[in-house]
């Protein structure tokens, strides 16, 4: 038996994604965002989270998904990885589940339009729910973004 982990479940469109709970600092409703010019396109700006300035990125934008209007359900998930604090804007976040590590399987090449390297794996929960586990270090990998940017130019 593998160990059991707690996972925060959030949605982008109809897909469900998971982040390990110990990497999540807090989940916030939408806050006023100050735009930051001349930076990555998917960076929405910075927010004031109880006195700390934290950049927020639109996860849809990061994965190249179509961006949508923010709603009442929109949440900012503040994660802390490699000493970086970043907020992710997601469509909704309203579940915490327990998950056995063995249940996480290697992902196929592309899941819901997201490249496999951003993923830790895919877990089947219940009968027809599929949970996509994010690889946060890869999502926040700056080297890759720089390459991406230079390709675009």
């Amino acid at each position: 038996m593998g160990e059991e982990i707690k996972v925060i479940v959030f949605k982008l469109g109809s897909e469900e994604y998971g982040i390990e709970v110990d990497k999540v600092q807090t989940i916030e409703r939408m806050l006023p965002i100050t735009r930051v010019p001349k930076t990555y396109a998917f960076v929405r700006g910075v927010i004031n989270l109880r006195g700390v300035v934290i950049p927020v990125i639109d996860l849809r934008g990061r994965f190249g998904l179509e961006e949508t209007e923010y709603t009442d359900q929109t949440r900012i998930i503040i994660v802390a990885v490699n000493e970086m604090e970043v907020g992710f804007i997601v469509d909704s976040a309203n579940d915490v589940i327990d998950l056995h590590k063995d249940k996480i399987e290697t992902p196929p090449e592309v899941v819901g339009g997201i490249k496999a390297k951003y993923l830790d794996g895919v877990a089947k929960i219940g009968d027809d729910r599929l949970l996509i586990m994010l690889n946060l270090s890869e999502v926040l990998n700056k080297n890759e973004i720089i390459q991406l940017e230079s390709l675009e130019e």
Partner: protein, 695 residues
């Protein structure tokens, strides 16, 4: 000139360097062929030498210089490390340590280092000093240091004894031996003490009274004693105590006392030397002995014999910068709440509330001053030591140099101040040694005989600039390139395509030195590369501006890690930005008709000259504001040093104290934005870095 304020700094830095010297020497001992360690040691020694010379501790500097010579040979692979070299160097280190210790305790750091110096010189000449004795001097010193801990008198004790002699009391040096078969030696010792205390005062004993009470001694102890009693009588009484084998009582006069305190140890040899038959007592029964008086009288006298009391460095505590950061963060939060409260109270209009908020505002601005001051130090604390250094330097090089310091009250974060001293010393030495020409050369070049070195510090935007400018010979491109080629720093092809600026930067390349002969001052090729590395590690830059024949300017740009700054808040459409007040010259309004185009760039007239008008809305892609649509545009004139530019903005909000926050580690540095701050309404505003807009 008052050295005290940077004495503590010198001590801190010296201790750090000594520590690193020791560690690296040990490292080197385990891998003697690793020349990179030698480099590190050499640099530490070099810096230590510079600091010691600046502070006027000549013995310290002299010894370090000799050690440096040895290390230089090792570094250049002209000498292989051997055991005896290590031993000598370690001995040197020990001597350095005790000198710094002496300085810490308020002494003048003088010590006889001639033995070690000559040993080091012998190594440089290629001799093995262990083959022959190093002369009486070294031996004497070694022996003295063996017993160094024994009966060393401190300043106060010396003063007390000296005073007592002057007052006509007898000062005795007593050496007591207890029989080795004694079971309760502590008790016997106690009895001796008790006997002595009855008719005088024990000033100092070795071992200490505490150790004696706990039997931590080997059947013998020595002590200094003030009394009016006859020494011979006293000796008889001590021997009268059972199980006491022997008691030597020696009377000291002022001269012998001084000798003993100078040696720093009353070794038994010394005692024996003066133990010549207790000189016929002159029968001068001193006035009723009141030993308690002695210390009182000694207090004023303590100042005369040795160093003045003021030499002891200011009492400070070293606080972890991290704690100060926490304090600063907490305060920042308070400040944000304060601004919010002010806003609320002005909306609510309640008299009592307004009053309370106003009081809180005053208290918090006092608190802010303190919190800021904890971290900020005027560069003066570093600059202060330079006039002396430049003077001595100019003298030793037979040059005439005026050092003109401006902006010494410019404040910098303590962390930066601590680090910037060494690089500035190097740059100044460099300016005097390589920049300023000898008097004859200056006259033949038609320059005034006295060279001028300007040392300037000033704020600009979020940076502090420190410039060292001299009117010396300047940097000749060809000469630099020739040396660089010779040293293999650049190739011929590279050299041809280099701009002047790039050529100047070659001076900072490791192992580059244009001085033909090694002087005491600079020119070993350490120095400039270290300077650059240090400044870069502080997040700064060094730029060289030079005109051949006219002089050179080393401009050091340092980040101002101020956490709270005064700023002008401005609005650009729906977005708010903060501009550091330190960069702002003036605010104003220009009409559309006043804006001119010069070579396609927009310019406005400001005080009789044309300055560029910069469109922030275009640079930052601000969607809901475009100044070109306005008939009148608000502008903020900013400066970087002497150069000016105008920023077109939408609206002024007002002046405010803002708390500098970083944008977090995730975002890459953004040109023109130096950070963020949180406004009274809880929103984040970005802080502009105006320096970027002025080219």
């Amino acid at each position: 000139m008052d050295m005290n304020q940077y004495l503590s700094m010198f001590i801190d830095e010296s201790n750090d360097h000594l520590q690193s010297l020791n560690e690296n020497m040990l490292l080197l001992e385990s891998s003697p062929s690793d020349l990179s360690i030698v480099q590190v040691i050499f640099r530490s020694a070099h810096t230590l030498k510079g600091m010691a010379a600046t502070m006027g501790f000549e013995d310290l500097a002299a010894l370090t210089h000799q050690m440096e010579n040895v290390l230089d040979l090792v570094r250049n692979e002209k000498l292989a490390m051997q055991d005896f070299i290590f031993d000598t160097l370690f001995k040197g280190l020990d001597a350095l340590e005790s000198m710094v210790q002496d300085i810490t305790e308020g002494g003048d750091g003088k010590a006889d280092v001639s033995a070690i110096v000559s040993a080091l010189q012998a190594i440089v000449r290629g001799e093995d000093p262990s083959a022959k004795p190093q002369g009486a001097n070294a031996q004497g010193e070694a022996r003295a240091s063996d017993v160094n801990t024994a009966l060393k008198l401190d300043e106060f004790q010396y003063a007390v004894l000296n005073q007592s002699i002057e007052a006509g009391h007898r000062v005795l040096y007593i050496d007591v031996h207890i029989r080795e078969n004694c079971q309760l030696k502590a008790v016997r010792a106690y009895m001796v003490f008790e006997l002595l205390e009855r008719s005088g005062e024990v000033v100092k004993s070795f071992p200490s009274t505490q150790d004696i009470e706990q039997e931590k001694f080997d059947f013998s102890f020595s002590l200094y004693y003030i009394t009016t009693k006859d020494p011979a009588e006293l000796q008889r009484q001590i021997i009268g105590i059972s199980e006491i084998e022997k008691a030597d009582v020696t009377e000291l006069d002022a001269e012998t006392l001084q000798q003993m305190s100078e040696i720093g140890a009353a070794s038994q040899e010394v005692a024996a030397a003066v133990a010549a038959p207790p000189a016929a007592e002159k029968g001068q029964e001193a006035p009723p002995a009141k030993p308690e008086q002695a210390p009182e009288k000694a207090a004023p006298a303590a100042k005369t014999p040795a160093k003045t009391g003021g030499a002891v460095p200011t009492r400070t505590i070293r606080v972890d910068i991290e704690r100060l950061d926490v304090l600063m963060n907490l305060f920042s939060e308070l400040l944000i709440d304060r601004v919010r409260l002010e806003q609320l109270s002005s909306e609510i209009q309640n008299h009592a509330l307004t009053e309370t908020v106003e009081h809180m505002t005053r208290v918090s601005s006092d608190l802010q001053d303190i919190v800021m001051k904890l971290r900020m130090v005027p560069v003066d604390t570093v600059f202060n030591r330079f006039p002396r250094m430049v003077r001595d330097l100019a003298k030793s090089l037979d040059k005439k140099v005026d050092l003109i310091i401006t902006g010494a009250d410019t404040e910098l974060d303590r962390t930066v101040i601590d680090e910037i001293g060494d690089p500035l010393v190097h740059l100044l030495r460099n300016a005097v040694d390589h920049g300023i020409e000898p008097v004859a050369d200056r006259i033949s070049a038609g320059k005034p005989e006295t060279g001028t070195v300007h040392l300037r510090a000033f704020h600009s935007g979020n940076h502090v600039f420190i410039e060292i400018e001299e009117d010396g010979r300047g940097i000749y491109r060809d000469k630099v390139l020739k040396t660089a080629l010779k040293k293999g720093v650049v190739t011929e092809e590279q050299a041809a395509g280099m701009s002047d600026e790039e050529v100047h930067q070659l001076l900072f390349a490791p192992g580059f030195s244009t001085a033909e002969k090694i002087s005491d001052v600079s020119g070993r090729g350490v120095g400039l590369d270290v300077v650059k590395a240090k400044i870069t590690s502080l997040g700064g830059q060094v730029t060289i501006y030079s005109t051949p024949g006219k002089g050179t300017n080393f401009s050091v740009q340092l980040p101002l890690t101020l956490s709270i700054i005064a700023a002008m808040l401005v609005k650009m459409g729906s977005e708010k930005y903060a501009i550091p007040l330190s960069s702002i010259v003036e605010t104003g309004i220009v009409k559309k008709g006043q804006i001119r185009a010069v070579h396609g760039n927009k310019m406005v007239e400001f005080r009789g000259s044309l300055i560029p008008l910069i469109s922030l809305s275009r640079i930052f892609n601000i969607k809901d504001f475009d100044e070109t649509e306005e008939e009148e545009t608000e502008i903020i004139v900013i400066h970087k040093g002497e150069r000016l530019a105008a920023l077109a903005i939408d609206q002024f909000i007002g002046q405010n104290e803002i708390v500098l926050k970083s944008l977090g580690k995730y975002l890459p540095p953004i040109k023109g934005i130096s950070g963020a701050t949180i406004l009274g309404d809880g929103q984040v505003a970005l802080i502009l870095d105006p320096n970027v807009f002025i080219k």
